[in-house]
Subunit: 235 residues, 4 copies
C-alpha cells in the first residue's frame, strides 16, 4: 500500500517533468505532502495516533524521519491536517445537502449519503476523528469550533424536518449523534477492498436512517411497543 502510494507520487512527478521541462518544485512538494497525509491518516485511522510512530509512517513511505519535517511542522500538525480534511468533507456534504434537499429529512439523508460515500473514498485520512484529544490545544480549539458549527447545522436539519413534518418529534442532538457515530465508526471496519463499494455503503446507511430496519409490510410499531416493554437493564 505504501509502495503503491510512493509509486504514484513518483510517476506523477515524472509526467510533470516530461510535459514541462521543469517540474515545479512546489508541485512536487505538494504531491509528497499529500502522500504523507494519506499514508499517515490511514495508519492513524487504523491503529490510532499514538500507536503509529513517525518511524512507522516514514518506513511505510520509504523516507526518513527528518524528511518528514520538511512537510510538516510536527506530528500534531499532521493530525490537524487530517481533521481539517475530514471537516472539509463534512462541510462539503452539508453544502451539498443544503443545495439539493427540499425537506429537513431530505437534507439529513443526502448529507449522510454524500458524507459516507466521500468518507469511504478518502477513508484513512479521516479515520482519526477519534483522536480528537491528541490534537494540540490551539488546533483543538479550531477543530472544536468547526465541529460545533457542523453539529449545529445538522441539528438544524433535524429541527427543520420536525417543523416541516418530514421527521417526527425527537431530540435532534441524539439523532445527530446517532448517525454521526455510525459514520465515524466506518473506518474502524470498512475496507474499500471488501465486497462492498463505498457507494453501496452510502446507500445502505441512508436507507437505514430513512426507514429503519423494520419491514414495510410488518406491523412493526405494534411489535415494538409490546416487545420492548420489559425493562432492559434488569441484568
Amino acid at each position: 500500500m505504501p509502495q503503491a502510494q510512493r509509486g504514484k507520487v513518483e510517476e506523477a512527478g515524472m509526467t510533470g517533468r516530461w510535459r514541462s521541462a521543469v517540474p515545479s518544485r512546489e508541485e512536487q512538494h505538494a504531491l509528497k505532502r499529500r502522500a504523507v497525509v494519506k499514508e499517515a491518516g490511514r495508519a492513524f485511522g487504523r491503529f490510532g495516533f499514538h500507536n503509529t510512530s513517525l518511524d512507522d509512517v516514514a518506513r511505510a513511505l520509504h523516507i526518513s524521519k527528518p524528511t518528514f519535517y520538511r512537510y510538516f511542522e510536527n506530528k500534531q500538525a499532521l493530525l490537524f491536517e487530517c481533521h481539517t480534511l475530514a471537516l472539509d468533507l463534512g462541510e462539503e456534504s452539508v453544502a451539498f445537502a443544503q443545495r439539493n434537499g427540499a425537506t429537513g429529512l431530505d437534507k439529513v439523508l443526502l448529507m449522510i449519503r454524500h458524507y459516507v460515500a466521500v468518507y469511504a473514498r478518502e477513508l484513512g485520512a479521516v479515520g482519526i476523528v477519534t483522536d480528537f484529544h491528541s490534537l494540540a490545544p490551539e488546533h483543538r480549539r479550531i477543530v472544536q469550533k468547526r465541529r460545533d458549527r457542523f453539529d449545529r447545522i445538522l441539528r438544524g436539519f433535524v429541527s427543520e424536518g420536525i417543523a416541516d413534518g418530514s421527521i417526527p418529534p425527537c431530540d435532534p442532538r441524539m439523532v445527530v449523534s446517532c448517525f454521526m457515530g455510525a459514520i465515524n465508526w466506518v473506518p474502524v471496519w470498512f475496507s474499500s477492498a471488501g465486497p462492498r463499494s463505498g457507494e453501496e455503503l452510502a446507500e445502505a446507511f441512508a436507507r437505514i436512517f430513512a426507514t429503519g430496519l423494520q419491514s414495510a409490510t410488518a406491523d412493526a410499531g405494534k411489535a415494538l411497543s409490546m416487545k420492548l416493554s420489559p425493562s432492559p437493564v434488569t441484568s
Copy 2:
C-alpha cells in the same frame, strides 16, 4: 505530546470514589479494583488510552501511581479488563435479546436498547472500545475472538429477521456495523450528567433503528428515490 489534552479525571474523582464505605478485606480489594477500572475506563473512553497517563488516573483516585500495581499487573491489563467488561455487557445484552425477542427485528432492537442502556450506565468503563490496537497482542487475540462471535450473533439476528420477514432484504454486515458504530460512539459524546438519561438514550436509539427518521405520514420512499439521485460524490 505535552500539549495534548490530558485526562482531566481529577474532577470526577473528587467525589471520593476511592474512599467509600468500608466492608470486609477482600471485598475492599475488589471494590477498589473496580473503582480503578471505572475511573480508568472513563478516562480511556474520553481521552484515549495513550492520552491518559497512570499519573492522571492515580491523581483522580487520590492514590499514588505504584498503588495501582496492587490491582493490575500493568496498564494494558487494565485496558483488557475494560474491554472484557464491555464484551460482558454486550453478551449479556445479546442473551437478553435472545430470551425476549420473537422475530429477528425484535432481537436486534431489544439488543440495541439493552446495550445502550447498560452501556450508558457503566459508561466510562466501556468507552475504550476504540483503543483496540493498544491492547497487548495476547489480549488482542482474546478480544478479537469474542468480538467476532458477538458480531456473528448480531448478523444472525438480522438474517433471522430477513428470513422471518420482519426485516427487509439487506446486507447484515452493514446493518450491524451501522448500529454498533452508533453505539460504540456513545461514550465520545454522551454524559450521564447531561439533559438525557441513559434510558432515554436507549429508547431513542431503538426507535431510530426501528422506524428510521422519516415521519410515518410522509411518503418518504418516493422523496428518497427522487432526492438521492444526484451522485453525491461530485466534490
Copy 3:
C-alpha cells in the same frame, strides 16, 4: 548501621537491668534473625543482591516483608551482615594459620584449607562477597578496611614464605589475588549437596596451590618452558 551494634548495646543494657532470667523471646529473635541471614545470604550468593528482592526472601521464609524489618534495619544492613560474617571467617582462618603454620607456605596453605572448608560449610552467607559495591557507603568503608587488613596479612604470609625459602620469589599481590579469587568463586558453583564434601574441596584446593597441577614424576618445568613459548595473545 549496624543492627549488630545496636543489638549488642541493648543486650548489654538488658543484662544490666534485669540481671537474670532472660525470656526466650530474645533467643527466638536471634534464631529468626539468623534464619533470615542464612536464607538471604544464600539467595544473594546464588542470584546476586539485586536479583533477590525482599519479597523473594520473605516468601522463602514464609514471613511478610514488614516482618523482615523487625530483624534488620534495611536490606543493605543484611548485606553488611553477610560481609561481616565472611570477614569473620577469613580472619578466623588467618588466626588459625598463624597459630599452626611454621613457614610462610604453611600459613598460606593452612589458611586456604581452613577458609575453604568453613566457606563451604557456611556457603550462602558469604557468597555475596561479590556484591561489595552494593553496600551502603559507610558499610563499604568498614568492609574495605577489614579487607585491606586481611589482604595485607595474606601478602605478608607470602612474603614470609619467600623470605624463609618455602615459596619461590613472586609477586605476593598476584598470588594472593589468585587463590582468593578461586576461593571467592566457590559459592558460584559449589553445592554441599553435590558429590564432594567441603572438606574434600578444601583438601583439593590446598593441594593445587601447594604443588600445582603437574605430576611429580613429569619433568614439567621443561615442558612448560617449551610449550608456553608461543605468544599466547596472537589471536
Copy 4:
C-alpha cells in the same frame, strides 16, 4: 578512563584508514558499538550490572542515555554481548590450547595463560561473568549451553592430563572450578593501569597452577602432609 576510551574511538574514526580517508558509516557504527560494550563491560565487571545505571555508562562515554539504544536493544542485550565476548575469548583460548598443547597439562596451562592475557587485555568487557543471573532467560539459556560446553572441554583437558600422566589423579571438576574461579575473579581487582601488565599476570597464573606455591627445593610434600593435619574447621 572513559575520556581515554572516547578519545581512542574518535581518533580511530577521525584519522581513519590510509585507504579511505573516512571510515565508512558501518565501520563507525561498529566502532562506537564496541566502545559501548567495552565501557559498559568494564563498569559491569567492576560495580556489577545492577549497580551500573545506563546513566553511568552514558556519562562515561559522553553520550546521552537514549543514544545507547541505537546500538543495543536494551540493557540486557548489552550484558549478553559481554557474556558472548567472554565466551568467544574463552573458546579461542581453548582452541589455542588444543592447537599448541601436547599433553593434558600443556593444554590446561596454555589455556590459562592465553585466556588470562586476552582477558586482561579486553578486561572490562568480560568482567561481568559474575552477573549471569541478570541475563534475560533466553540469553541465559544460550550462555549456559556454551558454558557447559566450555567446562566440559576444560575437564577433558584435565582428564587427558591424568591419562597421559602429566597431571596426577584428581577430580577434574574441582580443578577446573579452581582455576576458572581465579580467572573470573581477575576483573574484580586487576587494573591494566596497575604495576603489572596482563602478560605478567598471565605468566604468574600459569606458573602458580603449574608448580604451585612451594619452593622447588623444599620438601613440600612432607611439610604439607604434616602441617595440614589438624582439622582446619575447628573454629
